[in-house]
């Protein structure tokens, strides 16, 4: 019997993406032929290549810019065809409901009249944009690009953790990680039935063309980036290249007579569709943040006049708010008459008295999150919080319950990961990317983020997270 590099590996009671999935048998067989030393050698070469290719995000310290790669773990995360079917249909269902919700709240507001969601939760939300009221978006596709954060508990059940419906990033790593695997591990990939992901750019272009103002035959699409100093600049470059469209910055665009043009060597040239990677706030100093240097003056007027399409639409942030998230299962039932295919993490909406009482009674077991914040700010993790932190959290909850939700801690699944000592379990999540024009398409797999620190649940790149290639097999 051959020894395998996974022999000493122990997932310590967590759900393991590699050992549990029947789809991964072929991968495990192929891995068994490799040694740890060979794996490490190829991993080091792969990470050096990412650096040379400049597949980096930028960190600023002491006025110096440092290019960092998102550390890449060479052991893939595997999903079976059946698992993927569930994820794919669940994501499509969710995005369909989100787009119907956005169309509703910016038009008839039936959902508010019917009392499905509290009125002030939507209308009082800082990401609700009254400027969008009455504006018709083609195909009612407000969210054209969505990255849905999904986790798995100790039983292997999928849960949606967050809907990123504004300007989600990470898809460039999905594709570049795959390219890296194709180069570094051709022997792993031979005849394994891996679903391709190379057509993301083409799919995105097709969807954005469907968003163009009516009557335009060959729409000019551009990608609007805050510029080279943005930490996600590589991704903007990647997307512009994959789509074959110009990567523009605010000053490259100009609005005249409610029409958008870009400055070219031959003068002004018309722009029809803008995939913008700038938040609503900074998009148009005339309509939103007046101090924005990144945006385009008059863009909102051109948008309202129907002369240009924006992807994603303005004001989608209200739909991925953490409190609105809690209503998603009810919203799916309301708009689609279906049960949610993908469950929410059970969420206590603290604006509801019973949920508040439950949260206060179980504070030490729960994760408490402010609804408006992103990026992990203001979160209290009960099991690891000090007594003082819990007391502080209690005070804030009582002072402004509507600003909070609480959730049980999810014991995130693990995947075998190459670390200094060999192969060990590390916690992972998953962010599949969906593209919506006249219909929704989900890129097979997605970004698997991995918490590289032992025992950590934090997968964010700023806090020691890395990534893995995600394989949908069969």
């Amino acid at each position: 019997m051959d020894r395998s590099i996974l022999d000493g590996y122990d997932p310590r009671g967590f759900f393991c993406e590699m050992l549990t999935s029947p789809a991964s048998a072929g991968v495990r067989e192929r891995l068994a032929r490799l040694s740890i030393a060979a794996l490490k050698e190829r991993a080091a070469a792969a990470n050096a290549e990412l650096y040379n290719l400049g597949i980096t995000f930028t960190v600023y310290s002491d006025a110096k810019t440092i290019d960092r790669i998102l550390p890449f773990d060479v052991l893939p995360r595997v999903l079976s065809a059946a698992e993927w079917r569930q994820l794919e249909s669940g994501i499509v269902q969710r995005i369909t409901a989100i787009n119907l919700l956005l169309d509703d709240i910016y038009h008839d507001q039936r959902v508010l009249a019917d009392g499905v969601v509290p009125r002030d939760l939507i209308l009082g939300n800082p990401n609700y944009r009254p400027e969008m009221c009455g504006l018709d978006v083609p195909h009612k596709a407000y969210v054209n690009i969505c990255g849905t954060d999904i986790v798995r508990d100790e039983k292997g059940a999928f849960f949606v953790l967050e809907d990123n419906a504004r300007t989600p990033s990470g898809v460039s790593y999905v594709v570049e990680n795959r390219h890296m695997m194709l180069r570094a591990f051709p022997d792993l990939l031979d005849d394994i039935g891996l679903r391709g992901i190379d057509n993301y750019g083409a799919r995105l272009v097709a969807a954005l063309q469907e968003m163009a103002p009516p009557g335009i035959g060959d729409p000019q699409i551009v990608l609007l980036s805050p510029g080279t100093y943005n930490s996600a600049y590589f991704e903007h470059v990647f997307l512009a290249r994959e789509m074959g469209v110009p990567l523009v910055e605010g000053p490259d665009l100009v609005v005249e007579d409610e029409r958008v043009s870009m400055r070219t060597t031959g003068g002004l040239a018309r722009v029809d569709v803008i995939y913008r990677r700038i938040n609503d706030d900074f998009l148009d100093p005339e309509a939103f943040n007046r101090d924005s240097m990144l945006g385009v003056r008059g863009l909102m007027r051109a948008y309202r006049a129907g002369n240009v399409a924006l992807a994603n639409a303005i004001g989608t942030g209200v739909a991925d708010d953490k409190a609105v998230y809690a209503y998603m299962p009810r919203l799916i039932r309301y708009y689609l008459g279906e049960d949610a295919i993908l469950q929410n993490v059970p969420t206590n909406i603290c604006r509801e008295p019973e949920a508040l009482r439950y949260t206060l009674d179980h504070l030490a077991e729960l994760v408490v999150k402010p609804v408006g914040e992103a990026g992990g700010y203001g979160i209290t993790v009960g099991p690891t919080a000090t007594r003082a932190e819990l007391a502080d959290c209690r005070k804030k909850l009582l002072a402004d319950p509507a600003n909070y939700i609480s959730q049980p801690c999810v014991n995130l699944s693990v995947a075998p990961t190459l670390v200094d000592g060999g192969i060990e379990p590390r916690h992972v999540d998953l962010r599949p990317f969906a593209v919506t024009g006249s219909s929704t398409w989900v890129l097979p797999g997605g970004l698997t983020r991995v918490a590289l620190r032992r025992g950590s649940f934090v997968v964010n790149s700023s806090q020691g997270g890395g990534s893995k290639d995600t394989w949908v097999l069969g």
Binding site: N52, L53, G54, D218, Q220, T228, Y233, V237, A240, R241, V245, P246, L247, V248, E249, P251, D252, M262, R263, T264, T265, G266, G267, A269
Partner: protein
């Protein structure tokens, strides 16, 4: 929609080419000066390099003295000196980073890897024994860039602006290379024609990669007039000022007609004038009027060309173009 080029990209690609060409030529100038200074002249030679680039103020502000090592460090590795090779390549890399949607991945990777390598070199590595190797590495990296670009860059408008930048810069740099010799000769006109002098003119030809071509034309003798004439006028020599000016004019005409661009007429006229001057004046006339003055005039005209391109195609306002060309000087 392939025919559209953002004004900002045209600017970046023009300057990407200029910076790489500039780095290559600076390596050539420093390399040849290394050869000169080892003959007899010592500090005097290195001072001329500092004068050549009008960098005296910045150089001496650091309390530096003119030695081979201090000048080389200032021009090769000093990241605070915007005219150093490492800074020039940093600007090239920054432009390439902006241009990543436009240029080939191979162009970007090579510049990225080379700049990262260069920025790790310490000043203790600027020893006489290692210098020529270092300059060879820099020249080779710049030429590798040129080769990768030739072999991978898509031939649309961007390619034209890339080549325009390269030829404008190369013409300018050849005038500077010649000017160095002028600076060196000035204090000691009696040396003209001596064996030392001849070996220096040969070194100058070598630094411009023109030695063998020159030999094929003038096998018997190396005279200052012939070498200067060769570097200025020879139509077949790819670094001659005349060749570069002619190519610049041709490229500008082509890009304008192929893409129906309206601007750039002032630059085209300026290039026509420059070509006429280079086609009619003889090297004897130029030397009698003053080589330095002539080279200075060419440099001014090239700056005017660059300024008009900035205004016509890169979206600069006239004041901004003025400031930029002042900084480029």
């Amino acid at each position: 929609m392939v025919d559209v080029l953002l004004a900002r990209y045209a600017d970046c690609i023009f300057w990407l080419a200029r910076y790489v060409e500039r780095a290559e030529n600076l390596a050539r100038i420093l390399d040849v000066n290394e050869t000169f200074s080892r003959d007899s002249r010592g500090a005097q030679n290195w001072r001329s390099i500092v004068q050549l680039n009008s960098d005296e103020e910045r150089f001496f502000a650091g309390g530096r003295e003119v030695t081979g090592h201090s000048v080389l460090n200032f021009y090769v590795l000093d990241a605070d000196n915007p005219t150093s090779i490492v800074s020039t390549l940093r600007f090239a890399r920054e432009n390439a980073r902006t241009l990543r949607p436009l240029i080939s991945t191979e162009m970007w990777v090579q510049l990225n890897v080379f700049y990262n390598h260069l920025s790790t070199i310490g000043s203790d590595e600027l020893t006489p024994a290692r210098l020529s190797g270092l300059f060879a590495t820099i020249k080779e990296a710049c030429q590798t860039h040129t080769g990768i670009t030739e072999g991978t860059f898509f031939r649309d408008q961007g390619w034209y602006f890339y080549q325009l930048g390269r030829y404008v810069e190369r013409a300018d740099q050849t005038t500077r290379l010649l000017d160095i010799k002028y600076h060196l000769l000035l204090p000691d006109i009696a040396d003209v024609g001596s064996p030392t002098d001849v070996s220096q003119w040969n070194a100058l030809l070598r630094s411009a990669a023109g030695y063998h071509a020159y030999r094929r034309l003038h096998a018997a003798s190396t005279t200052p007039a012939r070498v200067a004439g060769f570097l200025l006028f020879n139509q077949a020599f790819p670094r001659s000022v005349h060749h570069c000016v002619r190519e610049t004019g041709r490229l500008l005409g082509e890009v304008k007609s192929r893409y129906s661009l309206r601007g750039g007429n002032d630059a085209a006229e300026e290039l026509d004038r420059l070509r006429a001057v280079l086609g009619t004046l003889t090297i004897r006339e130029i030397l009698s009027e003053g080589l330095h003055e002539f080279l200075d005039l060419i440099q001014q005209q090239l700056i005017a060309v660059s300024r008009d391109l900035s205004i016509s195609f890169f979206g600069y306002r006239p004041e901004a173009a003025q400031a930029q060309s002042a900084a480029a000087e």
